[in-house]
């Protein structure tokens, strides 16, 4: 029996390695490429590797630096699983430094509804932050698990008339979720984030070649926001940041830089920033990534 399983596994590995299947990945909907953005999880259930995302807020009370890695794998067509963790370093003024790992985060996502000609996608999914898995030395350590059902949206502005054609490179994405804590004492919260993007590659490739040279031709200026609204009566007001920045699309990776502006004093005392490197693993290793593990390769 063991030999049969080994032989089957070997046959599958050889099939994956040598079958000339068409590779489709990235977040493509019609003519639109929806890039993975640092703060707003994109609506696509595809293979992605974010390593690292470095978030730094030098002026915050805790002088916090976060280094996050996440890996997503398409399991079935349009369905992907993600694992994520963050290394947190705190250097509070006048206090001892702390560092350690955040709780392990998992995500399941399914592309529910796609209309390529309208550059539209709607996906559903859920985040799970596993209680008890992070470093106990961190103030943010929780022994309980958090579940966050999410709704993901992406929409391009391709239907605008010719008189507004230079707005067609615009696109929006959003994620709306609700934190459900496995602890009655904790306040549930609405999590809402989004991005407004202007894709220069889209302008050049699908609207009008206005002669923008590289590297600017491969850039996507954007503004993101990430908000948390607690829903119990005595909760603090909505906190969050507005994050203008730019993405640069390389052949095999995407580099993002954003400035994080707190929306109120409860969100942070000063402006911070983040840098993210997103590796296009489906381009680097097309035999392994860029297609689901089970049930075919085409979407």
């Amino acid at each position: 029996m063991k030999k049969i399983i080994q032989s089957a596994a070997l046959a599958c590995a050889i099939a994956i390695a040598f079958t000339p299947t068409l590779v489709r990945a990235h977040g493509l909907e019609g003519d639109r490429f929806f890039p993975p953005t640092p703060l707003t999880d994109d609506p696509f259930a595809v293979d992605e590797l974010s390593l690292p995302e470095i978030q730094y807020n030098p002026a915050s009370a805790s002088n916090e630096t976060d280094i996050t890695g996440s890996f997503s794998k398409e399991i079935f067509p349009k369905f992907a699983l993600t694992i994520q963790d963050t290394y947190i370093n705190l250097n509070p003024k006048g206090g001892p430094a702390q560092d350690g790992f955040s709780p392990l985060g998992f995500n399941a996502k399914y592309q529910l509804w796609e209309v390529p000609e309208h550059e539209f996608i709607l996906s559903i999914g859920s985040d799970v932050t596993l209680g008890g898995t992070g470093s106990k030395s961190l103030y943010s350590y929780n022994y309980y698990t958090t579940y966050t059902p999410n709704l993901y949206l992406g929409k391009g502005f391709n239907e605008l008339p010719d008189s507004l054609k230079f707005f067609r490179p615009l696109a929006i994405t959003s994620v709306t979720g609700y934190d459900l804590y496995a602890n009655a004492a904790a306040s549930n919260a609405l999590e809402w984030s989004g991005s407004v993007q202007y894709s220069i590659p889209y302008l050049q490739e699908h609207v009008e070649d206005v002669g923008i040279p590289r590297p600017f031709r491969d850039m996507i200026p954007l503004v993101e926001f990430q908000m948390t609204t607690p829903t119990n009566k005595d909760a603090v007001p909505t906190t969050g940041t507005i994050d203008p920045g730019v993405l640069w699309e390389g052949k095999y990776c995407q580099i993002s830089g954003e400035v994080s502006i707190p929306i109120n004093s409860q969100s942070g005392p000063a402006v911070g920033g983040l840098i993210q490197v997103q590796i296009f693993i489906d381009d680097l290793f097309p035999k392994i990534f860029g297609h689901p593990i089970f049930l075919g390769d085409d979407k």
């Binding site: 068409l22 390593l51 490739e205 699908h206 095999y252 990776c253 590796i279 296009f280 680097l284 097309p286």
Partner: protein, 122 residues
């Protein structure tokens, strides 16, 4: 070694790996240019891509304003420059034409896209 240094070393190794890989084929530029207006009919529509193409699975089509395909269906990937794909067109009347392309890179990545150009009387 500090964590940041390790991360950048990892990135460097990944970048080195990237030199042996291929990527998605996106449109680099076209002739007639994307969204342009040209005087008189072109005889060929050409599209240059960011990667070399697999001729058997790549195509380019030209449609008139009514949605009718009007190209001569003689798609070619240039033998000396495999990132260049072209198709011949008959003499085009004044109007706007839609170009639809489907590109499969040599490593089988598949992308599609559209753009338009306008022809005016010479």
């Amino acid at each position: 070694m500090k964590l940041i240094q390790k991360l950048f070393l990892t990135l460097g190794l990944l970048t080195a790996c990237a030199t042996v890989a291929e990527a998605h084929a996106f449109l680099d530029h076209a002739d007639p240019k994307v969204g342009s207006t040209v005087k008189g009919s072109p005889s060929v529509v050409k599209a240059w891509f960011t990667e070399e193409l697999e001729p058997a699975f790549s195509k380019i089509q030209v449609f008139d304003a009514t949605g009718k395909e009007i190209d001569k269906q003689d798609v070619q990937v240039d033998a000396t420059n495999k990132s260049l794909m072209s198709v011949s067109v008959p003499t085009l009347a004044a109007g706007t034409y839609k170009v639809k392309w489907s590109a499969v890179a040599v490593d089988t990545h598949h992308t599609t896209g559209t753009f338009t150009f306008t022809v005016t009387s010479p």
